[in-house]
């Protein structure tokens, strides 16, 4: 406990820390441990510049994980993250091809398309009552189909706009990556949204018992739709940033983000069954996953070993603190 309070944490949010969760404390302890392990492999692992660079990369994952967390709090899951990210990236770069107006509103268009998929997800889950695990899988397939259809025949413009590149890679204020500023902004808004608004309270309530929330006069279906729309928007925005970072949009660019997003949310102590979890935990989860991936990439080892170590580490960390209570009535 003392260990992780002493370490420099840029995400110290007073209201969240008041009730520090042992899961989050352990997550931060794991981060410290990873930093130590990383420093053994590379002397500049602990340099501010390298860490900022990692967080910059991690902020794309953070967007997807933030949306995922809101949906997971409801007791649902969003498996459409990968292709909604790709949709966000491809549609914004495509918009950039429509001339100056297009490139000006490229980012909003990308996010809007993500929201549209989120809306479909929300309607399917909240109104049609299809389990989110299968419905979002379906929308993911549709998003993929649409993108393949679009890019297969013709070759639409796929280069990121200058604005997208600046957002993802620039350092405009205080030599801190813009992506990190964006993450902080989104993070603070999410904390506020979850803790201080009726929407946030309802999300937790629905995650615990939708029946009780409904009978208390909460408009549970609307809240669910809204949560999925947010998840869609955040995933698409993550895709926009990713396109800015890699200067172009391409098929399958969101694929490596689904499982890490879920893992980050869960490693952050959010219950996959809904109703319990804090955003600080998700921040810790994203940093954990990002550092783990970065260490594995600087260790000069075979891809197969990397996969094995990655999986084992996640299991190990979950066993440390992610265990559910013993069945008791």
């Amino acid at each position: 406990m003392s260990q992780d309070q002493a370490k420099p944490a840029p995400f110290r949010l007073a209201p969240v820390l008041r009730s520090i969760d042992p899961a989050i404390a352990t997550a931060f302890a794991c981060i410290v441990a990873l930093l130590l392990v990383g420093s053994l492999y590379s002397s500049n692992f602990l340099s501010a510049d390298y860490l900022l660079q990692q967080i910059q990369v991690g902020s794309f994952l953070a967007m997807a994980a933030t949306g995922m967390m809101i949906v997971v709090l409801l007791g649902q899951i969003d498996l459409s993250v990968p292709w909604v990210m790709t949709v966000g990236a491809m549609m914004s770069t495509a918009a950039a091809g429509w001339g100056p107006v297009g490139s000006w509103c490229a980012i909003p268009i990308g996010i809007l398309c993500g929201m549209l998929f989120g809306l479909v997800n929300g309607i399917g889950v909240a109104y049609l009552r299809v389990p989110s695990m299968i419905f979002t899988l379906g929308t993911n397939a549709v998003a993929q189909g649409l993108m393949i259809m679009r890019t297969g025949g013709a070759a639409p413009q796929d280069m990121a706009t200058a604005a997208m590149r600046t957002l993802a890679t620039g350092r405009v204020v205080a030599d801190i990556p813009n992506a990190l500023w964006i993450w902080m902004l989104i993070g603070v808004s999410t904390v506020f949204l979850l803790r201080r608004t009726t929407f946030g309270r309802s999300v937790y309530a629905i995650g615990n018992s939708e029946r009780a929330a409904y009978l208390s006069g909460s408009r549970t279906r609307r809240i669910t739709v809204l949560a999925f729309v947010m998840s869609g928007a955040l995933s698409a925005f993550g895709g926009v940033l990713l396109a800015g970072y890699s200067t172009k949009a391409y098929q399958g660019m969101g694929d490596p983000y689904l499982l890490p997003a879920i893992a980050a949310v869960v490693l952050g102590g959010t219950s996959i069954l809904g109703g319990r979890g804090t955003y600080l935990g998700t921040v810790a989860g994203v940093i954990l996953i990002t550092l783990l991936q970065s260490i594995l990439s600087i260790m000069q080892i075979d891809e197969s070993i990397r996969q094995i170590v990655y999986g084992l580490t996640i299991i190990l960390m979950l066993l440390l603190y992610g265990r559910s209570a013993i069945l008791r009535t």
Binding site: T198, S209, A212, L215, S216, R219, R328, T329
Partner: protein, 517 residues
């Protein structure tokens, strides 16, 4: 009491949950061929005791003896094998499996190592008949059965295990009077066959009819054991609540003027085949009861008024003008101001893992926030006020509401609705499974609310409660209002008679309830 060696004995049993002591050096002895009644308020430790007996939880200290030998039950299966079978308050049936599968879930009849479904079906039929549930088809999935049938299946399942000790924890709470009669007969037969029975119920009549011995629990230990029939009701209740048993029900004020316009009015409410042409009116300051046997449409009526049911025909009027209520969110809006205290506090009333604060303020959150942003100071103030008003016992407002005792949880459910200052309160059996002390507080509270001009529609399965609290009682039978009882007509005899739809005294045929406006 003076039987030589008890069949089963527990001594010095203690159990803690976190900081709360559920049992403190409690003891209990059961004898073969006797029915032992366990009495006590909710939270007195009865449930924990039987969970220890049946291997669901482990005691922190103390010993268990079965047939004079020390035993340990690490899991329910171990207790079952030893011959201890418990019928739990929360049902232990598996919804997706058939009745027969459920009855033989642990020890199915086998052929060649596989389950012999034919034999199983036949045996299930026999056990169902023995439990008095011949009307249940052994192949029906449990999830399709109504609650009362499920309870009967639960009893058949327990019998099929041929127990030596049978524990019934509020096993009759969901049953109709006719079913209770059948069950009591079965239990008496089992007693004559030499079983030891442990019977837990809040219904005094059943205990009087059945019990040979009684033990009273309070605050986690046994405070008295005595042969049945040697203590008066008053003494028993005093032992249970540990204080003077005074008037349970607050005095009734003079009836509300018939000329007062009703605030809530229903005309010809009809829904599927469960509600038929229901008309009623509730005036401000009135507590109107809903009576009748369980399952005659009372719950559906409350849900229909609250806008939960689809396809309801008829008209609902608030202060004389017709309204369309599309759901709870519309019902709680200021122009209607309706609240519903639901049937099951654990799944419908509360978000158990969430804090007392979050639960209390959830229904009234709209009024405590501006533009969707919660005003934390206003929230804290409102929560504090409710804690004081209802005297809710909790370690703090940030602990999960699940850590509270049953009675206090129910108070939270009521308080969360009072916070939005409703004008109409619908209550769906709010005192079921609640201890006497809390019941009394709830009655007082209802009266206070009525005195302040709130209109209350109150469904209860307890006739005493209806007689003690209500000015008028509408007795439902098969989805209709069979009779309205008011003033001196409101007696247990009349309630039971009209619940069974039989004439007890002078009454006109085709009785129509009076409508105020």
């Amino acid at each position: 009491m003076d039987a030589p060696v008890p069949l089963f004995a527990m001594t010095g049993i203690s159990k803690r949950y976190g900081g709360v002591k559920a049992l403190d050096k409690a003891s209990l002895a059961l004898h073969a061929g006797r029915i032992h009644a366990l009495l006590g308020e909710n939270g007195a430790g009865k449930s924990t005791l039987i969970k220890i007996m049946s291997g669901v939880v482990q005691p922190d200290e103390g010993s268990l003896e079965f047939d004079g030998r020390a035993v340990r039950f690490p899991a329910p299966a171990a207790a079952n094998d030893a011959g201890i079978v418990c019928i739990f308050q929360e049902l232990s049936l598996i919804p997706d499996l058939s009745v027969a599968d459920n009855i033989f879930i642990a020890m199915p009849p086998r052929r060649f190592g596989l389950i012999d479904r034919k034999t199983q079906r036949r045996m299930a039929e026999e056990w169902l008949a023995l439990a008095g549930a011949e009307d249940v088809h052994p192949l029906a999935p449990v999830k399709d059965l109504p609650l009362s049938r499920r309870q009967m299946v639960e009893i058949a399942k327990a019998l099929a295990r041929r127990p030596r000790i049978l524990i019934l924890d509020e096993a009759t709470s969901a049953l109709t009077a006719a079913d209770v009669g059948k069950i009591l007969a079965v239990l008496k037969r089992l007693r004559s066959e030499g079983l030891a029975l442990l019977y837990i119920s809040h219904r005094m009549q059943e205990i009087e009819e059945l019990a040979d011995d009684c033990t009273i629990f309070r605050n986690g230990c046994n405070v008295a054991s005595y042969p049945a029939g040697t203590k008066s009701h008053g003494e028993v209740v005093e032992l249970m609540i540990g204080r003077e048993y005074s008037h349970v029900f607050p005095p009734k004020p003079p009836p509300v003027q018939a000329a007062t316009p009703p605030i809530l009015e229903a005309r010809g409410l009809t829904w599927t085949n469960r509600l038929r042409d229901i008309s009623l009116a509730v005036r401000p300051g009135e507590i109107v009861g809903l009576g009748g046997l369980d399952g005659q449409g009372q719950r559906e009526l409350l849900l229909a008024l609250f806008g939960v049911l689809r396809g309801v025909t008829g008209e609902i009027r608030i202060e004389g003008s017709p309204v369309a209520i599309g759901g709870p969110s519309a019902a709680k809006a200021a122009r209607i101001g309706m609240a519903l205290i639901p049937e099951d506090r654990k799944t419908e009333g509360l978000m158990l893992p969430m804090s007392v604060r979050d639960n209390l303020s959830f229904a009234a959150l709209g009024g405590l926030s501006t533009g969707g942003f919660i005003d934390r100071t206003a929230e804290a103030r409102a929560v504090d006020e409710m804690l004081r008003l209802l005297a809710i016992k909790t370690e703090g407002i940030d602990v999960p509401v699940a850590t509270l005792s049953g009675g206090n949880q129910q108070k939270v459910v009521i308080a969360k609705w009072l916070m939005m200052a409703p004008r109409i309160i619908l209550l769906n059996d709010p005192t079921r499974g609640i201890d006497v002390g809390t019941k009394q507080e709830i009655y007082q509270l209802l009266r206070q609310l009525a005195d302040r001009g709130v209109a209350i529609l109150f469904y209860s399965t307890d006739y005493d409660e209806l007689i003690g609290c209500c000015e008028r009682v509408l007795v439902l039978y098969d989805g209709r209002i069979g009779r309205e009882l008011a003033g001196n007509e409101l007696t247990e005899r009349a309630l039971v008679g009209s619940a069974l739809n039989i004439a007890t005294d002078t009454e006109e045929a085709g009785y129509a309830p009076a409508i105020g406006a």
